[in-house]
Symmetry: C2
Subunit: 320 residues, 2 copies
């Protein structure tokens, strides 16, 4: 009998899921297109069927102990997905309540994607022996999760971890939340696109990406140019890292973490983002903290990181 958990990562584009055994061994994983399912009921039905197929295909005696779900704007306390701008399901979705009908005998737990990533790092990744650390995910937005004394900060009503929406510039860029100058309008894949486009507009000289429209431009194109030594692309990374480092210095002053993990697409560009971030972090730190905070990439295999995070959520919940 193999003890295992189901880990599900719901993203705006793809939903990834897998059966995860002890020690974080991914027994099997699969994915499908989230946006094909315009309402959550048909999505859940399809997801359940896919999971059943997966479990049977393993052809082993497996005891599924629980289901962990990572989702954008996921609320751990309420088991809901609330007003997720990157999903088609509007309003407050009682995801766990609905999904329980498929799994009436085992616990189903949901949290947001950054918190799931933090738990994944804590259970299987680079934070295994850490009690105090921070996770920043740099994707379409800026996700974040804070672990204090071995436990995730959820806050008074489960909404802790909105660092993406702290102000970094008065009357700055308009954010999808309605405010101006939010951190994630500068520090995220979308943020670096906006920064690079600004640089293109304001600086002279030729650039390989001059003829690409903002819609067509992707953060990957900017990474590629930066890797090839393009000055503007490198400057966009430098500006992004400086802003992130400055804000992280404040996080360190508040909670004195051992390490900060940078995850997500932008983080996978390695030193392009790590170097300016670390430089700015150290420069802005209160002196007693200088040289003491580690800035680290994920230790989980990129492909399965989100599934492992979701599975770790339920495994931590069950203490298995």
């Amino acid at each position: 009998m193999i003890k295992a958990a189901i880990g599900i990562d719901i993203g705006g584009t793809l939903t990834k899921f897998g059966v995860v055994g002890e020690q974080g061994l991914c027994l099997r994983t699969h994915f499908f297109n989230t946006s094909l399912y315009r309402d959550v009921d048909t999505f859940q039905k399809h997801l359940y069927e896919e999971i059943q197929i997966m479990i049977h295909s393993l052809n082993k005696d497996i005891n599924i102990r629980g289901v962990g779900v990572g989702a954008p704007n996921g609320n751990y306390f309420r088991g809901t997905i609330e007003h997720a701008p990157n999903l088609q399901w509007r309003g407050i979705i009682p995801f766990v309540k609905k999904f329980r009908k498929y799994f009436p005998d085992i616990p189903v737990v949901l949290t947001n994607d950054a918190k799931a990533a933090a738990i994944g790092e804590m259970v299987y990744g680079g934070a295994k022996k850490m009690r105090n650390f921070v996770v920043i995910t740099l994707g379409t937005g800026l996700g974040n999760a804070f672990v204090v004394d071995g436990r995730l900060i959820y806050g008074h009503d489960g909404r802790a971890g909105e660092l993406g929406h702290v102000n970094v510039r008065q009357n700055g860029r308009l954010c999808r939340c309605g405010n101006r100058g939010c951190l994630e309008t500068y520090v995220s894949s979308t943020g670096i696109k906006r920064t690079f486009s600004n640089l293109l507009r304001t600086k002279s000289g030729k650039n390989n990406l001059s003829n690409i429209s903002f819609e067509e431009l992707t953060s990957e194109m900017i990474y590629d140019e930066a890797r090839n030594g393009d000055t503007l692309a490198l400057e966009a990374f430098s500006i992004t890292g400086k802003m992130l480092g400055m804000k992280l210095s404040e996080v360190v002053a508040i909670m004195n973490p051992e390490a900060i993990f940078l995850l997500g697409g932008l983080a996978r560009t390695g030193k392009l983002i790590f170097e300016p971030t670390l430089g700015s972090l150290e420069k802005n730190l209160f002196p007693i903290f200088r040289g003491k905070v580690k800035l680290l990439p994920s230790k989980l295999k990129e492909k399965n990181a989100a599934i492992l995070g979701a599975a770790a959520l339920i495994q931590k919940h069950l203490n298995i």
Copy 2:
């Protein structure tokens, strides 16, 4: 037999101490001048003798269960006072280790003054039923403590809670920590003095405090002028509150507290500081948090608040 704890609050000017019974009843309190004791050994000897006199003077059958100490730059994990700029004792003082010789049979616990205040508020004050809250103390500097899920954040090496040293202005005011633009150079008794002096220099018109030197100027003088409707003094409060509110909006985004307590001299000016702070906090908040965070004064009697905080520290430690 009365169960009680000793609460000690070490300040740059005064050391206050008392015998505190159950339910936070101060059986007796006393104070003396900290700065008379140039080294910590003679300070501790005097403090111990005073405590013995106090206990005997009560003439009751008292069982002292422990000693709690609040001190500037106090480190809970190490029991040390580390490089406190407002005390005469230089370097790292192993306060608890030394003080234990006077109390070999009961626990002695030390933390910094803001953390002691937070525990005081949690055990005896306005945060009795709260699991997630923040304490900001506005004195010579800006102290701060964060309670998450009922527990104080200490961080990786006990240095969490340095919000006074986050940057609020690039190349701003020089801070005693060596950096420029730290929050506490603007938001503290010293900060409001600096702001008011700047306003005096840059604005025209007569002011009651024009002839007072910066050395002679006290924050109390500015409070008095503001209470009398002086425009510049009111503007100094408004600027201070705006900066504090902006920074608190970031704290809320990170940890989603139920309430923020403002304590210390500047907080006791009431709406002069609460109104601009709350206005700026709400304006800068991520929309989902608006109208949900309470900004509160202490519920402890001012006179004994620091002693109660220190006593609560040991009472929480012992679970009495």
